[in-house]
Amino acid sequence: MSSLAVRAPGPSRPTSQPAPRTASVVTEGGFVRWLLIAVAIGFLALFLVLPLVTVFVQAFAKGWAAYLAAFTEADAHSAIRLTLIAAAIAVPFNLVFGVAAAWAIAKFEFKGKNLLVTLIDLPFSVSPVVSGLIYVLVFGAQGLIGPWLIERDVQIIFAIPGIVLATIFVTFPFVARQLIPLMQEQGTAEEEAALTLGASGWHAFRTVTLPNIRWGLLYSVLLCNARAMGEFGAVSVVSGHIRGLTNTLPLHVEILYNEYNFVAAFAVASLLAGLALVTLVIKSVLEWRYSADIAAGARRH
C-alpha cells in the first residue's frame, strides 16, 4: 500500500509496463526478508523443535503398550509423587516470598534496595550443581550443621527436605523478579486511595493490590512450577539417587536412560515435556491477553 503511495511521479512510462515497486524505507527487501525468516525458523526448528519432537518419537518408538509400561513401575509412581511434593512446597513458599519481597521493594523507598534485588536474583546466576553443593556443605555429613542434625536423626541431604530446599533455591527469584517491576510501575496511588477511604492495609492489599497483580502472579507461578518440577542439576546433587525414595521425575529419567531403558526414559521425559508444552501454551495465552498486567512496560494494545 505505502509502496504505491510513495511512487515517484517520474517521466511518463509506457502504460503497459507495471508500476515500479518502491520498497518501504523501514523494512528490508522481499528477498532478504524471506531469507531471514527462513534462517530464523530453520534454526529454531533444528535446535529447539526437533529435540522436543524426538522426545515423543522415542517415547512411542515401541508403541503404546511399551509407553504405558513405563508408568506402571512403582519407582515411577514415587518419582511423580516426590516431584509433586517438592513443587507443592517450593512454589507456594516462593509465592509468599515473592509477594512479600515485591511489596517491600516496590512500594517503599529505602537504602540498599538495588543490592537487595541483586541478592534475590543471585540463584539465577549460580550453576544448578553449585546450588546443590552449598546445601551439602551446610547439611551434609561433613557439612556445617549436618553432623549435629544427623546426631538428632534429622536427615536433610539425600532426603526429601534437601530436594525441597534445592528446588526452592533454584526457583527462588521467579515470583519476586516478575512482581517487582510490575508493582513498581503500578505505584502506590491506588493503595493510598484505598487508605484514604478508610481501608486497612490488609484490606487494601486484598482488594486493590492483589487484583492488580493477579495475572503477573499467575504467570510467574506457572514458570516457577515448570522449573520446580523440571530441576535436575541441583536436585541431583542433594538427592543421593535412592530409587523409590529420593528420585524426582528428571532423576528417574536419568536413571532409566543410563540403564539403556530408552523407551521408558523417553516416556517419563514425555510427561515432563508435556508439562513444558502446557506451560508454554498457558504462558503465551497470558502474554497475548494480559501483557500489560503481567509485565511492566508491556505495551497496551
Partner: protein
C-alpha cells in the same frame, strides 16, 4: 464566608532527604470554603495536601481538625476525601464498586446495609451526572468522567474535608473549563470544605473562595482572589498571578519615579530609594516621548481574544515588555514608541 476554622495547619516543616519542601508553614482553612493552594511546581503544595490527608508526615508542626490534634491520626481515621491527580481509580472494579469502596471497607458493625450503599452510590452518580454508568469500568470512561468518579468515590465516605490534587491537570482545556464550573456548583450545593492544589492561576482565581499562594515551601499570601490580585504582598505573588513588566524605579516621599519622571504609583510609607516597579501589560499606554516613562521599538504585535498585544524592545536594556491595548492599529515592527506607566506595584529591590 468567614466560617469557623475547619483545619488548622500549624508551623509545619518537612524535608525530603536534604531538600526542605515546607518551612514553618501555617494556614487556617475555614469550614465550608473552597480554598486553592496555588504555586509553581516544587512549591510544596502537593506535599501540604498529602500531609493534611495523612499520606505524608511532617517533620514538625501539627494538623488540627476542628480543634482536635490529628497529626498522629492514621489516614484511615482522618475522614478525608482525597482525589488523586491521575484519579487512582481501581481498574478492576466497576464504577459502582469504586464509589462504594470506602463504605464496603468499613468494619461490619459500621457498614451500611447493602441497599443503603446502593442508594448512596445512585445518589452520587446523579450528583456527578453519570447515572447510567454504574456498571462501566474505568478504562471505558473519558478522563473527565474518571475525574468525576474519583470525586464521587471521595464524597461517598462523607469526608470532613475534600482534598483535590491538581484535579484538572490531566485534562483537555475545554473539559477543564466545564469541570471547573461543575466543581464550583457541587461545592455550592454541598457546602463541603474543599482544598485543591493547582499551578494554574486562572483556575485558582476563578474557582476558589480564597487562594493561598505558596512559594518554596512558604506561604506567601492568603486571601480572596480579589485581595491577592489587588494587594499582592510580594513580587513573587504578583508575578505568579500574571504577566508583569519589571522596571527600575526610585521611591521618594511616597511617590515613585521612573527615569526621573513621576508615575501615578504610590509607594508605601517607609519605602525609599531604589525600588522595583511592577506593572501589568494593561497598565502601560503608548505616549508621546515627553510623557513617556519608557522608550523602545516595536518588535511585533499580535491580536488575542479581542485585544492587541505588542512586544516592545526597551531602549538600552535589551529587555522586551508586553503592552496590551484594546484600540491600537497594528504597529509596524521597528517603530519607535514611548510607554507611559498608568499603575502598578512597588517592592523593595
Amino acid at each position: 464566608m468567614g466560617g469557623s476554622t475547619a483545619i488548622r495547619v500549624e508551623a509545619l516543616s518537612k524535608t525530603f532527604d536534604t531538600a526542605a519542601v515546607l518551612h514553618d508553614f501555617s494556614l487556617d482553612v475555614r469550614a465550608g470554603e473552597l480554598l486553592a493552594l496555588l504555586g509553581p511546581s516544587g512549591s510544596g503544595k502537593t506535599t501540604l495536601l498529602r500531609i493534611i490527608a495523612g499520606l505524608d508526615f511532617p517533620d514538625r508542626g501539627r494538623i488540627i481538625f476542628g480543634g482536635d490534634d490529628a497529626t498522629q491520626l492514621p489516614v484511615q481515621q482522618r475522614a478525608v476525601g482525597f482525589v488523586f491527580q491521575h484519579y487512582a481509580l481501581f481498574k478492576h472494579m466497576s464504577v459502582a464498586e469504586n464509589i462504594a469502596y470506602g463504605l464496603n471497607a468499613r468494619r461490619r458493625s459500621e457498614r451500611p446495609a447493602k441497599a443503603e450503599i446502593k442508594a448512596r452510590v445512585g445518589d452520587l452518580l446523579d450528583l456527578i451526572k453519570l447515572s447510567g454508568f454504574a456498571d462501566r469500568y474505568p478504562s471505558q470512561l473519558s478522563g473527565g468522567q474518571r475525574q468525576r468518579i474519583a470525586l464521587a468515590r471521595a464524597l461517598a465516605v462523607e469526608p470532613r474535608v475534600l482534598l483535590l490534587d491538581e484535579p484538572f491537570g490531566a485534562l483537555d482545556a475545554q473539559v477543564r473549563k466545564d469541570l471547573r464550573r461543575w466543581l464550583r456548583e457541587i461545592h455550592d450545593r454541598t457546602g463541603q470544605t474543599t482544598i485543591f492544589v493547582t499551578h494554574d492561576q486562572d483556575e485558582a482565581l476563578e474557582l476558589s473562595d480564597r487562594v493561598a499562594v505558596l512559594d518554596k515551601g512558604r506561604l506567601e499570601q492568603v486571601g480572596t482572589p480579589d485581595e491577592v490580585q489587588e494587594n499582592p504582598v510580594s513580587a513573587t505573588v504578583l508575578k505568579f498571578l500574571g504577566d508583569t513588566i519589571e522596571v527600575e524605579a526610585l521611591a521618594r516621599d511616597g511617590q515613585v519615579f521612573v527615569q526621573g519622571r513621576a508615575t501615578p504609583v504610590v509607594a508605601r510609607p517607609g519605602l525609599v530609594g531604589p525600588v522595583k516597579l511592577y506593572a501589568r501589560p494593561w497598565q502601560l499606554q503608548f505616549a508621546e516621548a515627553h510623557e513617556a516613562h519608557l522608550h523602545g521599538t516595536v518588535r511585533s504585535s499580535y491580536r488575542t481574544q479581542g485585544r492587541q498585544r505588542i512586544e516592545v524592545d526597551r531602549e538600552g536594556e535589551g529587555k522586551t515588555v508586553v503592552v496590551e491595548a484594546s484600540d491600537t492599529a497594528r504597529l509596524a515592527a521597528g517603530l519607535p514608541v514611548g510607554l507611559r506607566i498608568l499603575g502598578g506595584y512597588v517592592f523593595a529591590d
